[in-house]
């Protein structure tokens, strides 16, 4: 069959979405976006501020605490996923209940943050938050096979990424734990109540959605089946490297007040909007490319963007004396971050089936995102005291360039000829 005629075949098999399907898509996009906003703002920005400014801890102590949070989250995610698999908690209802417990617990913790009075209390708070976050990961990512058809996963991931970064970049003008917590609490409480209602009350459209996972258009990922393990391995290694490079570089860049105040924490709303706009553009572009060309088409762009932007920062430090206020650098950074966030949201469900999506997602997110965050945080802490920014950026740029070379060689060695697979009804 000529290649050009295949899209019409796809259109012929497409079934008009029902209202329940649209509701499911909106719910998952909202869940992923709000979870990510919570992680980006209160966890990654608010907690360091709370530890250092309110409790008077050193930045090194706070960084170790954040690394501890990463370990607990990763471990809990895998443990929860294994438990879900063994006990057969793979239905929509079970995942919604778990997500509701996670969201409700985090809402309660956020409300209690102000009551934490010392470092020991913050450690306990972080351990509880890590456990709840970890429990939520296989549940939230597992919902993709119930709520998002395979062909729309790229776009759903793009919508969640765009929404999350647009909100996080524009709303978090003041990076203080108290203001972030009060900003997040009302929507978190509403979301948790909604999830509790959907999880514990019988609703007709929830029943309709719960049948989706048995439909191959939902329940079997585009990379599941033959070559599934290879795709999982590639995604694990690539995203681990990407998370590591991003986290390792970003920790030092935002440790430089001139860079931070010129973009992510700028007093000018326009600057933050510009960065948010780059995030949104990056997410939409990634959604299109992931859907039509697959995840491998994005890997080269991601490593290339990180290499370019870290070389720009390095050039700025080495030649211009550092602290340049050119917005192109954070905008390119935002573009790269959005590209890989879309891949991270969509890929784990796409290498899975309805049966193992929780475990695959937990392994993927724990082994790539949280392990990379833990390692890069630990390394950044030790380098922070021994190496200047320039030497740090040299390594980050070198790692990103090495990643680009490896991806280039891999893609040249295994050329992608394109394929079209239509899931049977």
């Amino acid at each position: 069959m000529p290649l050009g005629t295949r899209p019409s075949v796809l259109r012929a098999r497409t079934v008009a979405p029902r209202a329940a399907d649209w509701f499911g898509v909106a719910m998952l996009v909202g869940l992923l976006a709000s979870g990510y906003v919570y992680n980006l703002t209160l966890v990654q920005i608010g907690l360091p501020d709370f530890g250092e400014r309110v409790l008077g801890m050193t930045s090194s102590d706070v960084a170790w605490m954040m690394a501890g949070l990463a370990v607990v989250t990763a471990a809990t995610a895998v443990l929860t996923a294994v438990t879900m698999q063994r006990l057969g908690w793979t239905s929509l209802r079970a995942k919604l209940r778990l997500a509701a417990v996670s969201a409700g617990g985090q809402t309660a913790l956020t409300a209690q943050l102000g009551a934490v009075g010392d470092a020991g209390g913050l450690w306990l708070w972080l351990l509880a938050a890590g456990a709840l976050l970890g429990a939520g990961i296989p549940a939230a990512f597992g919902l993709l096979v119930d709520l998002i058809p395979v062909r729309w996963r790229g776009y759903a991931a793009a919508a969640a990424t765009a929404l999350a970064y647009a909100l996080a970049s524009t709303l978090s003008g003041e990076w203080r734990a108290g203001s972030l917590a009060s900003l997040l609490l009302p929507p978190m409480a509403l979301g948790a109540l909604g999830l509790l209602a959907f999880g514990f009350w019988r609703m007709p459209f929830a029943e309709t959605l719960s049948r989706n996972r048995h439909d191959p258009r939902y329940g079997t990922g585009r990379y599941a089946g033959a070559g599934e393990r290879r795709h999982l391995l590639v995604a694990l290694v690539a995203l681990f490297a990407i998370f590591f490079i991003d986290s390792f570089g970003f920790l030092r860049i935002i440790d430089t007040p001139a860079y931070l105040n010129a973009a992510w924490q700028s007093a000018e709303a326009g600057d933050r909007t510009f960065v948010a706009g780059a995030h949104v553009v990056g997410a939409l572009v990634a959604g299109v490319l992931y859907t039509h060309l697959g995840y491998r088409s994005l890997l080269g762009w991601i490593f290339g963007l990180f290499a370019l932007v870290h070389l720009m920062y390095l050039y700025d430090v080495r030649v211009m004396g550092g602290g340049s206020q050119v917005l192109a650098m954070p905008a390119l950074y935002a573009l790269g971050v959005s590209l890989y966030t879309v891949v991270n949201f969509a890929i784990w469900a796409d290498v899975s089936t309805a049966r193992n999506v929780g475990l695959m997602s937990a392994i993927g997110v724990a082994a790539s995102a949280w392990t990379a965050t833990f390692l890069s945080t630990a390394l950044a802490i030790s380098w922070n005291e021994t190496r200047p920014l320039e030497a740090h950026l040299e390594w980050v740029a070198a790692l990103a360039l090495a990643g680009l070379l490896v991806v280039g060689a891999w893609q040249a060695y295994t050329p992608h000829r394109g394929s079209i697979r239509v899931a049977a009804r």
């Binding site: 290649l3 050009g4 295949r6 899209p7 796809l10 395979v150 062909r151 996963r153 790229g154 585009r222 010129a262 973009a263 000018e268 326009g270 600057d271 510009f274 780059a278 553009v281 939409l284 572009v285 299109v288 490319l289 859907t291 039509h292 060309l293 697959g294 762009w301 290339g304 963007l305 370019l308 070389l311 720009m312 050039y315 030649v319 211009m320 340049s324 206020q325 050119v326 917005l327 192109a328 905008a331 390119l332 573009l335 796409d350 992608h416 000829r417 394109g418 394929s419 079209i420 697979r421 239509v422 899931a423």
Partner: protein, 300 residues
């Protein structure tokens, strides 16, 4: 080889036909340069290094963009003065009709200088892109514009005859999945612009940057011809004009250029149209591996 050279020449000329029919501006990389009294420098001025003096009574019709070096302005600048690095001295006699945008470097502004507006904020990519915009409003469909469209149509026809398969592949890519070339084009524009500016900063890589820029413009030009062919085939049918690609390319490219030209008169919509068409054209060239292969598609 002859075909390739002819194709390159056609596309470069095609791509250079902007709204004003030319790309204006001056690049200063070293040495000392002076805009004398009553002298006028048309277009923009990009100072990478060296020294530039605009004397009292001298005039620059575009914007001045300073990345490094020393600039002294005692005359008139019709556009903006954007400073990223280097040293800029604005004397009492100076008039800057646009704005003074400071993102770095040193600016010594005399109190008597007339500056339209002053903005101390990061100089964004927009400032750099702003250099390539015409400083005056487009004049619309003047006779000269029509002549330009006719020349463009002739060149597109020649391109259609020289590289029919490449144009066919790009056209097919846009027809099958228009979002993919658009997405790739947007990414390439973001990354490409930053990469080019970064390369220019190094000074050593300026020739490479120029080559890359020319190649990209060439590719986008071919992509624009492919868009024209697609437009004709979609609106008038594949068999129109006997199905001859050269003629379809001529009519289609002129139509695309006319639409872009008219749209560019509308604020925001015009900019989005130009950016969208440019992105799709560049993206179509890239996703077909410079017109040599069909676009791969992986559909879930």
């Amino acid at each position: 080889m002859r075909r390739a050279l002819l194709l390159a020449a056609i596309t470069i000329v095609l791509s250079a036909c902007g709204e004003q029919g030319s790309i204006g501006g001056l690049l200063v990389m070293e040495g000392r340069h002076t805009v004398e009294r009553r002298a006028t420098l048309y277009g923009d001025l990009l100072v990478l290094d060296g020294q530039v003096e605009v004397r009292r009574g001298g005039r620059i019709t575009g914007s001045v963009f300073v990345l490094s070096g020393d600039v002294e302005i005692a005359g008139r600048v019709d556009g903006d003065v954007a400073v990223v690095g280097g040293r800029v001295r604005i004397t009492d006699e100076a008039t800057i009709a646009g704005g003074l945008r400071r993102g770095g470097g040193e600016v010594d502004q005399a109190p008597g200088a007339s500056v339209g507006s002053e903005l101390v904020s990061p100089v964004t990519v927009d400032a750099i892109i702003g250099l390539t915009r015409p400083s005056a409003e487009p004049d619309g469909l003047t006779p000269w514009t029509l002549v330009q469209l006719a020349v463009l149509a002739l060149l597109a026809a020649a391109a259609g005859r020289v590289a029919p398969r490449s144009i066919g592949r790009m056209s097919a890519a846009v027809r099958r999945q228009p979002l993919v070339p658009l997405a790739v084009g947007i990414l390439a524009l973001f990354v490409g612009l930053s990469l080019l500016v970064f390369m220019v900063f190094t000074a050593v890589l300026i020739p490479v940057a120029l080559l890359l820029a020319m190649a990209s413009v060439l590719g986008a030009g071919l992509g624009a011809v492919a868009l024209g062919v697609l437009l004709v085939r979609r609106v008038l049918g594949p068999g129109w004009l006997g199905g001859r690609l050269g003629l379809q390319a001529a009519v289609g490219s002129a139509a695309v250029a006319a639409v872009v030209l008219l749209a560019s008169r509308i604020p925001l919509i015009g900019e989005l149209t130009v950016a969208g068409v440019g992105s799709i054209a560049l993206g179509a060239w890239l996703v077909t591996r410079f017109g040599t292969r069909e676009m791969p598609v992986e559909q879930p």
